[in-house]
Protein backbone atom coordinates (compact mmCIF):
# COMPACT_ATOMS: atom_id res chain seq x y z
CA UNK A 1 0.00 0.00 0.00
CA UNK A 2 2.69 2.38 1.02
CA UNK A 3 4.87 1.49 -1.93
CA UNK A 4 2.00 2.05 -4.34
CA UNK A 5 1.38 5.51 -2.93
CA UNK A 6 5.02 6.42 -3.27
CA UNK A 7 5.02 5.26 -6.87
CA UNK A 8 2.05 7.45 -7.65
CA UNK A 9 3.80 10.44 -6.16
CA UNK A 10 6.89 9.85 -8.27
CA UNK A 11 4.80 9.58 -11.40
CA UNK A 12 3.02 12.82 -10.66
CA UNK A 13 6.25 14.73 -10.22
CA UNK A 14 7.96 13.34 -13.30
CA UNK A 15 7.07 16.02 -15.75
CA UNK A 16 5.47 19.38 -16.19
CA UNK A 17 4.75 19.79 -19.91
CA UNK A 18 5.95 23.07 -21.34
CA UNK A 19 6.25 24.70 -24.73
CA UNK A 20 9.64 26.22 -25.44
CA UNK A 21 9.63 29.38 -27.49
CA UNK A 22 12.19 31.97 -28.48
CA UNK A 23 12.33 35.72 -28.45
CA UNK A 24 15.61 37.00 -29.78
CA UNK A 25 18.42 34.84 -28.35
CA UNK A 26 16.37 33.83 -25.35
CA UNK A 27 14.47 30.61 -24.83
CA UNK A 28 11.44 30.68 -22.58
CA UNK A 29 9.08 27.99 -21.37
CA UNK A 30 5.37 28.28 -20.83
CA UNK A 31 3.11 25.64 -19.32
CA UNK A 32 1.52 23.73 -22.18
CA UNK A 33 -1.82 23.82 -20.41
CA UNK A 34 -1.82 27.62 -20.58
CA UNK A 35 -1.65 27.64 -24.37
CA UNK A 36 -4.72 26.91 -26.49
CA UNK A 37 -3.20 27.29 -29.91
CA UNK A 38 -0.09 28.38 -31.75
CA UNK A 39 -0.68 30.41 -34.88
CA UNK A 40 1.16 32.34 -37.50
CA UNK A 41 0.83 36.12 -37.48
CA UNK A 42 -1.74 36.00 -40.23
CA UNK A 43 -4.92 37.89 -39.49
CA UNK A 44 -3.44 40.23 -36.91
CA UNK A 45 -5.12 43.61 -36.95
CA UNK A 46 -3.40 46.79 -35.91
CA UNK A 47 -4.90 48.87 -33.15
CA UNK A 48 -3.53 51.95 -34.91
CA UNK A 49 -2.15 54.39 -32.40
CA UNK A 50 -2.70 52.47 -29.21
CA UNK A 51 -2.53 54.55 -26.05
CA UNK A 52 0.89 54.71 -24.49
CA UNK A 53 -0.20 52.71 -21.47
CA UNK A 54 -0.87 49.73 -23.73
CA UNK A 55 2.46 49.96 -25.49
CA UNK A 56 2.95 46.23 -25.55
CA UNK A 57 -0.46 45.63 -27.18
CA UNK A 58 -0.53 46.89 -30.74
CA UNK A 59 -2.59 44.25 -32.44
CA UNK A 60 -5.57 42.02 -31.98
CA UNK A 61 -6.26 38.63 -33.42
CA UNK A 62 -9.72 37.12 -33.80
CA UNK A 63 -10.13 33.36 -33.68
CA UNK A 64 -13.51 31.67 -33.70
CA UNK A 65 -15.25 34.89 -32.77
CA UNK A 66 -12.99 35.59 -29.82
CA UNK A 67 -10.79 38.66 -29.88
CA UNK A 68 -7.29 38.28 -28.41
CA UNK A 69 -5.05 41.13 -27.34
CA UNK A 70 -1.66 40.46 -28.88
CA UNK A 71 1.12 41.18 -26.38
CA UNK A 72 4.48 41.87 -27.98
CA UNK A 73 6.84 39.53 -26.13
CA UNK A 74 9.85 41.75 -26.83
CA UNK A 75 8.24 44.74 -25.17
CA UNK A 76 6.85 42.70 -22.29
CA UNK A 77 10.32 41.41 -21.42
CA UNK A 78 12.06 44.71 -22.20
CA UNK A 79 13.95 43.31 -25.18
CA UNK A 80 15.00 44.88 -28.46
CA UNK A 81 12.71 44.13 -31.41
CA UNK A 82 13.28 40.86 -33.23
CA UNK A 83 11.46 39.03 -35.99
CA UNK A 84 8.27 37.52 -34.66
CA UNK A 85 6.64 34.68 -36.57
CA UNK A 86 4.19 33.09 -34.15
CA UNK A 87 1.56 33.89 -31.57
CA UNK A 88 0.66 31.77 -28.58
CA UNK A 89 -3.05 32.00 -27.87
CA UNK A 90 -3.56 31.61 -24.15
CA UNK A 91 -6.49 29.70 -22.79
CA UNK A 92 -7.47 31.49 -19.61
CA UNK A 93 -7.67 35.03 -20.97
CA UNK A 94 -8.10 36.61 -24.40
CA UNK A 95 -4.36 37.15 -24.68
CA UNK A 96 -2.00 36.13 -27.47
CA UNK A 97 1.75 36.46 -27.08
CA UNK A 98 3.85 37.33 -30.11
CA UNK A 99 7.12 35.38 -30.16
CA UNK A 100 9.88 34.65 -32.65
CA UNK A 101 9.41 30.91 -32.90
CA UNK A 102 8.53 27.65 -31.25
CA UNK A 103 11.35 25.29 -30.32
CA UNK A 104 9.45 22.22 -29.15
CA UNK A 105 7.31 20.80 -26.43
CA UNK A 106 9.02 19.05 -23.56
CA UNK A 107 8.61 18.07 -19.94
CA UNK A 108 10.52 19.55 -17.08
CA UNK A 109 10.97 17.67 -13.82
CA UNK A 110 10.69 20.74 -11.63
CA UNK A 111 10.58 24.50 -11.59
CA UNK A 112 13.35 26.04 -9.49
CA UNK A 113 12.26 29.16 -7.64
CA UNK A 114 13.68 32.38 -8.96
CA UNK A 115 16.57 33.31 -6.63
CA UNK A 116 15.77 36.07 -4.15
CA UNK A 117 18.54 38.15 -5.69
CA UNK A 118 16.12 38.92 -8.51
CA UNK A 119 13.78 41.58 -7.23
CA UNK A 120 12.68 43.38 -10.40
CA UNK A 121 9.80 42.84 -12.78
CA UNK A 122 11.07 39.34 -13.50
CA UNK A 123 9.53 38.23 -10.21
CA UNK A 124 6.12 38.64 -11.82
CA UNK A 125 7.20 37.57 -15.32
CA UNK A 126 8.45 34.14 -14.27
CA UNK A 127 7.11 31.28 -12.22
CA UNK A 128 10.68 30.10 -11.84
CA UNK A 129 13.53 28.54 -13.76
CA UNK A 130 13.84 25.17 -15.46
CA UNK A 131 17.01 23.28 -16.30
CA UNK A 132 16.63 21.85 -19.79
CA UNK A 133 19.52 20.15 -21.59
CA UNK A 134 22.10 22.19 -19.71
CA UNK A 135 20.27 25.47 -20.23
CA UNK A 136 18.49 27.60 -17.68
CA UNK A 137 15.11 28.53 -19.09
CA UNK A 138 12.72 30.94 -17.40
CA UNK A 139 9.20 29.56 -17.06
CA UNK A 140 6.88 32.43 -17.80
CA UNK A 141 3.84 33.25 -15.73
CA UNK A 142 0.96 33.46 -18.22
CA UNK A 143 -1.12 35.46 -15.75
CA UNK A 144 1.08 38.51 -15.93
CA UNK A 145 1.13 39.39 -19.62
CA UNK A 146 -1.85 41.66 -19.02
CA UNK A 147 -3.67 42.43 -15.79
CA UNK A 148 -7.44 42.35 -15.54
CA UNK A 149 -7.27 46.12 -15.27
CA UNK A 150 -5.26 46.32 -18.54
CA UNK A 151 -7.75 44.09 -20.30
CA UNK A 152 -10.80 46.01 -19.16
CA UNK A 153 -9.09 49.29 -20.09
CA UNK A 154 -8.34 47.88 -23.52
CA UNK A 155 -11.94 46.73 -23.91
CA UNK A 156 -13.09 50.25 -23.08
CA UNK A 157 -10.60 51.92 -25.41
CA UNK A 158 -11.22 49.50 -28.28
CA UNK A 159 -14.80 48.22 -28.05
CA UNK A 160 -15.71 45.41 -30.41
CA UNK A 161 -17.56 46.93 -33.39
CA UNK A 162 -21.28 46.16 -33.28
CA UNK A 163 -21.08 44.34 -36.63
CA UNK A 164 -18.33 42.04 -35.38
CA UNK A 165 -20.34 41.32 -32.24
CA UNK A 166 -23.27 40.19 -34.41
CA UNK A 167 -20.99 37.98 -36.48
CA UNK A 168 -19.40 36.54 -33.33
CA UNK A 169 -22.82 35.82 -31.85
Amino acid sequence: MRLARQKKRVQRSLGFPVILFTIGDNIFAIGASAVNEIQSLQGMESLGSSPRQFGKVRHTLTREGRRYWVVDGNIHFGMMPTRSTRVLLLGSHPIAVKVDGIVRMTEIPRVHPLPQAFHGEERSWYLGLALIDGLVVPVVNPETFLSHYDMSSLEQSFPVPAEAQRVGA
Partner: protein
Protein backbone atom coordinates in the same frame (compact mmCIF):
# COMPACT_ATOMS: atom_id res chain seq x y z
CA UNK B 1 39.22 51.64 18.00
CA UNK B 2 38.99 47.96 17.16
CA UNK B 3 35.54 46.49 16.60
CA UNK B 4 36.48 42.89 17.25
CA UNK B 5 39.40 40.60 17.77
CA UNK B 6 41.11 39.17 14.70
CA UNK B 7 38.65 37.67 12.26
CA UNK B 8 38.99 35.82 8.98
CA UNK B 9 38.35 37.54 5.70
CA UNK B 10 38.55 36.52 2.07
CA UNK B 11 40.38 39.08 -0.03
CA UNK B 12 39.32 39.28 -3.65
CA UNK B 13 40.63 41.42 -6.50
CA UNK B 14 38.46 43.51 -8.78
CA UNK B 15 40.32 45.59 -11.30
CA UNK B 16 43.27 47.23 -9.60
CA UNK B 17 42.00 46.93 -6.03
CA UNK B 18 41.30 44.25 -3.48
CA UNK B 19 38.22 44.03 -1.31
CA UNK B 20 37.23 41.69 1.48
CA UNK B 21 34.27 39.69 2.65
CA UNK B 22 33.98 38.01 6.06
CA UNK B 23 35.20 34.45 5.52
CA UNK B 24 32.14 33.05 7.27
CA UNK B 25 30.04 34.36 4.36
CA UNK B 26 32.17 32.74 1.65
CA UNK B 27 31.41 29.15 0.71
CA UNK B 28 33.69 28.46 -2.24
CA UNK B 29 35.82 29.80 -5.06
CA UNK B 30 34.81 28.46 -8.46
CA UNK B 31 36.21 28.62 -11.95
CA UNK B 32 34.34 30.65 -14.53
CA UNK B 33 31.33 28.73 -15.71
CA UNK B 34 28.53 29.25 -18.19
CA UNK B 35 26.54 32.32 -17.31
CA UNK B 36 22.88 31.79 -18.10
CA UNK B 37 21.32 35.17 -18.75
CA UNK B 38 17.66 35.95 -19.34
CA UNK B 39 15.61 39.14 -19.36
CA UNK B 40 15.40 40.77 -15.97
CA UNK B 41 15.43 44.25 -14.53
CA UNK B 42 17.42 43.73 -11.33
CA UNK B 43 20.55 45.86 -11.42
CA UNK B 44 23.91 44.07 -10.97
CA UNK B 45 22.39 40.57 -11.24
CA UNK B 46 23.63 39.40 -14.62
CA UNK B 47 22.20 35.88 -14.70
CA UNK B 48 22.63 32.57 -12.97
CA UNK B 49 25.07 29.66 -12.75
CA UNK B 50 24.17 26.07 -12.17
CA UNK B 51 26.36 24.57 -9.44
CA UNK B 52 25.69 20.90 -8.74
CA UNK B 53 22.04 21.32 -9.68
CA UNK B 54 21.63 24.50 -7.66
CA UNK B 55 20.69 27.76 -9.39
CA UNK B 56 23.07 30.46 -8.14
CA UNK B 57 22.52 34.10 -9.09
CA UNK B 58 25.51 36.07 -10.34
CA UNK B 59 25.95 39.38 -8.56
CA UNK B 60 28.35 41.36 -10.73
CA UNK B 61 29.58 44.02 -8.34
CA UNK B 62 32.47 45.20 -10.53
CA UNK B 63 30.61 48.22 -11.87
CA UNK B 64 30.15 49.47 -8.31
CA UNK B 65 33.53 48.49 -6.87
CA UNK B 66 35.77 48.85 -9.92
CA UNK B 67 34.01 51.80 -11.53
CA UNK B 68 33.78 52.06 -15.28
CA UNK B 69 36.63 49.61 -15.86
CA UNK B 70 35.43 46.29 -17.13
CA UNK B 71 38.17 43.95 -15.97
CA UNK B 72 38.14 40.35 -17.18
CA UNK B 73 36.60 38.11 -14.55
CA UNK B 74 38.49 34.90 -13.80
CA UNK B 75 36.71 33.22 -10.91
CA UNK B 76 33.47 33.25 -9.02
CA UNK B 77 33.58 33.83 -5.31
CA UNK B 78 30.48 32.18 -3.94
CA UNK B 79 29.13 33.86 -0.87
CA UNK B 80 25.98 33.92 1.20
CA UNK B 81 23.59 36.81 0.89
CA UNK B 82 20.79 37.45 3.33
CA UNK B 83 17.26 38.32 2.19
CA UNK B 84 15.21 38.87 5.32
CA UNK B 85 15.33 35.57 7.13
CA UNK B 86 16.40 33.68 3.99
CA UNK B 87 20.01 33.11 3.04
CA UNK B 88 21.00 32.49 -0.56
CA UNK B 89 24.28 31.66 -2.25
CA UNK B 90 25.47 34.26 -4.75
CA UNK B 91 28.34 34.12 -7.23
CA UNK B 92 30.53 37.21 -7.38
CA UNK B 93 32.81 37.42 -10.43
CA UNK B 94 36.34 38.40 -9.39
CA UNK B 95 39.40 39.14 -11.46
CA UNK B 96 42.09 37.01 -9.86
CA UNK B 97 43.19 34.80 -7.00
CA UNK B 98 41.56 35.19 -3.63
CA UNK B 99 43.34 34.98 -0.30
CA UNK B 100 42.30 34.16 3.23
CA UNK B 101 43.61 36.49 5.88
CA UNK B 102 43.23 37.06 9.60
CA UNK B 103 43.06 40.65 10.57
CA UNK B 104 41.43 43.15 12.85
CA UNK B 105 38.37 44.85 11.45
CA UNK B 106 38.96 48.56 11.85
CA UNK B 107 36.00 50.94 11.90
CA UNK B 108 35.02 52.65 8.68
CA UNK B 109 35.67 56.31 8.32
CA UNK B 110 32.86 58.71 7.60
CA UNK B 111 33.54 59.41 3.95
CA UNK B 112 33.47 55.82 2.75
CA UNK B 113 30.60 54.35 0.79
CA UNK B 114 27.76 52.85 2.80
CA UNK B 115 28.60 49.33 1.63
CA UNK B 116 31.99 49.47 3.42
CA UNK B 117 31.50 47.97 6.87
CA UNK B 118 35.10 48.38 7.99
CA UNK B 119 38.73 48.33 6.95
CA UNK B 120 41.59 45.88 7.11
CA UNK B 121 45.04 47.29 7.56
CA UNK B 122 47.37 44.92 5.70
CA UNK B 123 51.13 45.39 5.24
CA UNK B 124 50.89 47.13 1.86
CA UNK B 125 47.32 48.15 1.57
CA UNK B 126 44.09 49.15 3.26
CA UNK B 127 41.27 46.89 2.18
CA UNK B 128 37.58 47.73 2.36
CA UNK B 129 35.32 45.07 3.84
CA UNK B 130 32.11 44.88 1.84
CA UNK B 131 28.53 44.40 2.96
CA UNK B 132 26.83 42.73 -0.02
CA UNK B 133 23.38 43.75 1.19
CA UNK B 134 24.29 47.41 0.88
CA UNK B 135 25.75 47.22 -2.61
CA UNK B 136 23.57 48.87 -5.22
CA UNK B 137 24.17 50.62 -8.55
CA UNK B 138 23.49 53.96 -6.84
CA UNK B 139 26.45 53.26 -4.60
CA UNK B 140 28.70 53.59 -7.65
CA UNK B 141 27.91 57.30 -7.95
Amino acid sequence: MTLAANSSFVLFPLGGKRFALPAENVTELARMDTLHAFPSTTPLVSGVLVRRGEVVPVFDVAQVLAGRDNPARKFYLIARRRFGSAVERTAIPVTGDCELTNSELLPRTGDLAAYVTGLLSLPDEIVEVIDLEKLSPEAAA
